[in-house]
């Protein structure tokens, strides 16, 4: 009963926050409400027994997306006003579509099909890790994860095509020293999350996102002058996750008897996964950090 009450309150809160973010008159309110929405989503994931997602959402939704949105928001400062948008026509249409979707989701059978989960449980022992989500991400469906890293890299490459630097505020001593205090903690926590990912919720992405927030905090306080795409070492690390992944895949093809892409031999699977995850964490952290803070200054070179 108490849990159901919690569910009702949480769902109502989620819908209210999302609705208010969409309908609020000022954009700054919309962004603030959206960030609150992200935090609540993390709570919902935790409630629905998806701790991996709760960790990821907390790091991403509450931290980095917020920073990104506020950067964009700062640009709206001098922008001309918009005409007040229509409400009723979209509302009626969307209400009809939502009613249809509501009807559809109630058609979903409550009885799950468990064949795939059983298959995961069966093969977990030979996957190299003991946490099923990590096993799916880095072994059973590793190709998805490789492509996902590529999507992240592409976001950075795309964003680099359209640089627009906001002037950084001079760092205040208080925030500088707080950032110095905070970032080692974040580093420690992200290393812990990465290590834990093999056996429990956590893993490369959560760790990377956390590390990225540490990097962003330091960079916004005028430290880490080396954090730039022009720096060869940074570039290498940004690409490290993908390079490690591809090399591991190609190496697995060369092993005798195995002629399938991305198949880790059972004995080495744990090691390969940890290796790939470590590089992926670094890559994710640097990519996200570069996405949020951008480049100091640069002009795109010609081919």
């Amino acid at each position: 009963m108490g849990l159901l009450l919690f569910d009702v309150v949480l769902c109502a809160l989620l819908l209210t926050l999302a609705g208010a973010a969409m309908l609020s008159r000022q954009l700054v309110h919309a962004v603030t409400l959206f960030i609150a929405f992200g935090v609540m989503m993390a709570l919902a994931w935790a409630r629905l027994q998806a701790p991996d997602l709760a960790l990821a959402e907390a790091a991403i939704g509450a931290g980095l997306t917020g920073a990104l949105c506020f950067t964009a928001l700062a640009r709206y400062a001098g922008d001309a006003g918009y005409p007040k948008p229509k409400l009723w026509l979209p509302l009626v249409f969307v209400a009809a579509v939502s009613a249809l979707l509501l009807y559809s989701v109630f058609q979903i059978p409550a009885q799950p099909t468990t064949e795939l989960s059983e298959r995961v449980a069966e093969h977990l022992a030979v996957s190299g890790v003991s946490h099923p989500v990590t096993a799916v991400l880095l072994n059973f469906r590793a190709w998805d994860t490789l492509l996902e890293l590529l999507v992240l890299l592409l976001a950075l490459l795309g964003a680099r095509q359209v640089p627009s630097q906001l002037p950084l505020h001079a760092g205040w001593s208080l925030s500088v020293s707080w950032s110095r205090l905070l970032s080692p903690m974040l580093l420690l926590l992200s290393a812990y999350l990465l290590w834990r990912g093999a056996a429990a919720p956590g893993g490369a992405f959560q760790a990377g996102a956390l590390l990225a927030s540490g990097l962003v905090i330091l960079r916004l306080n005028q430290q880490l002058a080396w954090l730039s795409w022009q720096n060869f070492a940074v570039r290498t690390l940004v690409l490290a996750g993908l390079i490690a992944f591809v090399m591991a895949g190609l190496a697995s093809l060369l092993l005798p008897g195995q002629l399938v892409w991305l198949s880790w031999p059972v004995a080495l699977a744990g090691g390969i996964i940890l290796l790939v995850e470590t590089f992926a964490t670094l890559a994710i952290a640097l990519t996200l950090a570069l996405l949020v803070v951008g480049e100091p200054e640069q002009e795109p070179a010609d081919a």
Binding site: R25, Q26, L27, V28, H29, V31, L73, A74, Y76, A77, G78, D79, A80, G81, Y82, K84, W172, L174, S175, W178, L181, L182, M185
Partner: protein
């Protein structure tokens, strides 16, 4: 219900009251300084009470973890409060520079 549990629930309730008061302040107070005042102080206290309340009902390891969380939240609350206050102070002293974003309509 033991004494310990009763204390715990009382502390939790008190914590929630402080949280509510802080949020009310955030919504109702007029200028940013008083809002900061409401949010950081009341919420930190509220969180502390909730942490103590929960600690009474849990294992000591979780209690330590929650204490750590409270400390970090307190630290970041204090720092961000200072920074925000300083920012608004500078804005008031020199209001020409970047206008409040989002004032477009």
């Amino acid at each position: 219900m033991s004494i310990l549990q009763l204390c715990s629930w009382l502390l939790l309730a008190l914590g929630v009251v402080f949280f509510l008061a802080g949020s009310l302040g955030l919504l109702r107070f007029a200028d940013s300084f008083s809002r900061l005042h409401a949010v950081t102080k009341a919420d930190t206290l509220g969180l502390g009470l909730v942490v103590i309340g929960l600690s009474l009902q849990s294992h000591w390891r979780e209690a330590c973890l929650m204490l750590l969380i409270w400390l970090v939240v307190m630290g970041s609350g204090a720092v961000s409060c200072q920074l925000l206050a300083r920012f608004s102070h500078e804005q008031q002293a020199n209001p020409v520079e970047p206008a409040d974003p989002g004032q477009e309509d």
